[in-house]
Symmetry: C2
Subunit: 341 residues, 2 copies
């Protein structure tokens, strides 16, 4: 009946059970053995009062927040949902909370929120922090795990990312070997993006392996962005440079590339093969359906969360986790429709 009374505290419980607050606390945390009769009385008192320990008070006393932060710049992007889904499944039922820390190119994060008072550790996604902020964070020693971005040299910060180079190699090999493409465009990602750098390395390796000369005119800025890549493709088409395939760097850029080709009346895949990277959720529904490389973004999130928890608990962590990627053949490369999908 005392529904709307003030929530009860550990002292209320102690009083009702006829024990000290320390005893109640020990019961809560199993931090010391209690005699069975005492435990029973505490238990009784607790549920008679509907007692729930106050997390903030506990956080203050233990100097742990039981919260991990995810630092991201690109909320709303296609990476966001699967990544967070993975992170959540990584901390599931471990009594950890998830705090979203959104940064923007124009909006630096409040430095304090990166500090140890808000979270027990941070998951830092590529491009979410200015270099200075990242360095300061690393210096501070606050646990963090980087996602899709290597730590600065010397820093021993775990990294979780995906395998880019070998997968790209297989992707380009497929274009050359199966579809006999030899003039293959590459749309670079944003400056400084490591995924893009590795993909470019895979691209060049594949060309070299097939004795195809590297032509710098075939490498454009796609920015992992549909509009930038559409513009880049349009410009290239106007320049009437010859090409028979496009590796768009990522799926997002593939959207723009497909659009540009369509508007120019160039048929995909008959005239030009198009392949992407990431296997975003819309890849199967583009037209033609997009041949790409599956990036296990949810797993990246899950693994990163696990690494961070290990770090927080002082356990051993892997310095680097490279998750495997997988070629996904659909139609935009020129392969026929599968029987069903």
């Amino acid at each position: 009946m005392n529904t709307s009374s003030a929530p009860s505290t550990i002292r209320d419980v102690a009083r009702l059970a006829g024990v000290s607050v320390a005893t109640v606390s020990r019961y809560l945390n199993q931090s010391a053995p209690l005699s069975e009769p005492t435990a029973e009385r505490v238990r009784r008192a607790m549920d008679q009062l509907h007692f729930t320990p106050h997390p903030v008070a506990r956080n203050l006393a233990t100097r742990r927040t039981h919260t991990i932060g995810v630092v991201l710049n690109d909320v709303g992007g296609d990476f966001f949902a699967p990544l967070l889904d993975g992170v959540l499944s990584g901390i599931e039922s471990l009594n950890y909370n998830l705090l979203i820390i959104a940064t923007r190119p124009d909006l630096r994060a409040n430095p304090a929120i990166l500090g140890p008072m808000y979270t027990d550790g941070l998951l830092v996604f590529w491009d979410s922090l200015e270099k200075a902020d990242l360095d300061a964070l690393i210096q501070s020693g606050h646990p963090c795990v980087l996602i899709h971005q290597s730590p600065p040299p010397g820093a021993k910060i775990p990294l979780v990312t995906i395998e880019n180079k070998a997968a790209t190699r297989r992707l380009i090999d497929h274009l050359v070997e199966v579809h006999h493409r030899r003039r293959i465009l590459f749309l670079r990602g944003p400056a400084g993006n490591e995924d893009s750098q590795w993909r470019e390395a895979g691209y060049r390796e594949a060309l070299a392996a097939h004795s195809i000369a590297y032509d710098p005119r075939l490498v454009l800025k796609g920015g992992f962005d549909r509009f930038i890549s559409q513009k880049a493709m349009q410009d290239l088409i106007e320049s009437s440079l010859d090409f028979d395939a496009v590796f768009t760097g990522d799926d997002e850029a593939a959207i723009g590339a497909l659009q540009a080709l369509k508007l120019a009346g160039i048929r995909v895949p008959e005239d030009v093969s198009v392949v992407g990277f990431d296997d975003q959720s819309l890849a199967p529904f583009l037209s033609p359906s997009l041949t790409t490389v599956h990036a296990p973004t949810d797993q990246v999130g899950r693994m990163a969360a696990r690494q961070l928890l290990r770090l927080i608990n002082g356990e051993e962590t892997e310095p680097e986790i490279l998750l495997p990627t997988e070629l996904v053949i659909r139609n935009s490369c020129g392969c026929p429709l599968p029987v069903s999908d």
Copy 2:
């Protein structure tokens, strides 16, 4: 050079400035006037010590968390990213933090985390809480705003959602008036989904307005899900019931419907018009591009966040915000390609 020393506290600042902790606190919160010389000394001491007030201690003392929670079941779904993006922009620079509370059909939320100790208020998305948990939350009086779901009768909880019925009416009107469709399928959303109910009402209203008899055989379960809707469409096609258009309930179901039609060799939009709802990010890239209704999901997030903040601050709130939706004509209804896109 004392870089790695323990972080300084308000008492350290007080000592260095030669004032009491209360004075420092007053400076921090502007909660009482300070003489300029005192203020100056506090300021000096603060940045000499790089002092940052400890948020958890502050939360404990003020019994506010400066955090709002978003309760969601469908992390990873297409709603998630834009919604959160909107929420973040709604709380931007207001010193509020965002906690993600993910529930799953199989995993009930820890009841405590819905309580007032973790957050100052909650944004509750449709279907994220069991009825009992929602009722308990509302009973508790903890501030909350519902998203895409009306409160139980009698409860005075603000609601933020979108206009469904009139938009659906316009959508179906378009099919009938422009494309002369009269046998229009409707794929219902999940049971209990209010959006779906309103869309169905709009659908029926449009039929009635054009004197088209309502045929219950044309209403199927699409579940707002690509697989469910694909299956439903396939079954319907096999039953060889006649139809010339499909309103898929949402865009997600449109994916499945398009797939089923394609596999059956039925041409869209020549043989059958297909229209969706939501205007998810992939809608323009389906083939043919999807005629749909734009749902301003990011705005829903922003508005809901704002309402919640008002509620938390004891200001007046709107009982219900219905955000306008807008018809987006593309090609899947049968309209020609726009000049550019």
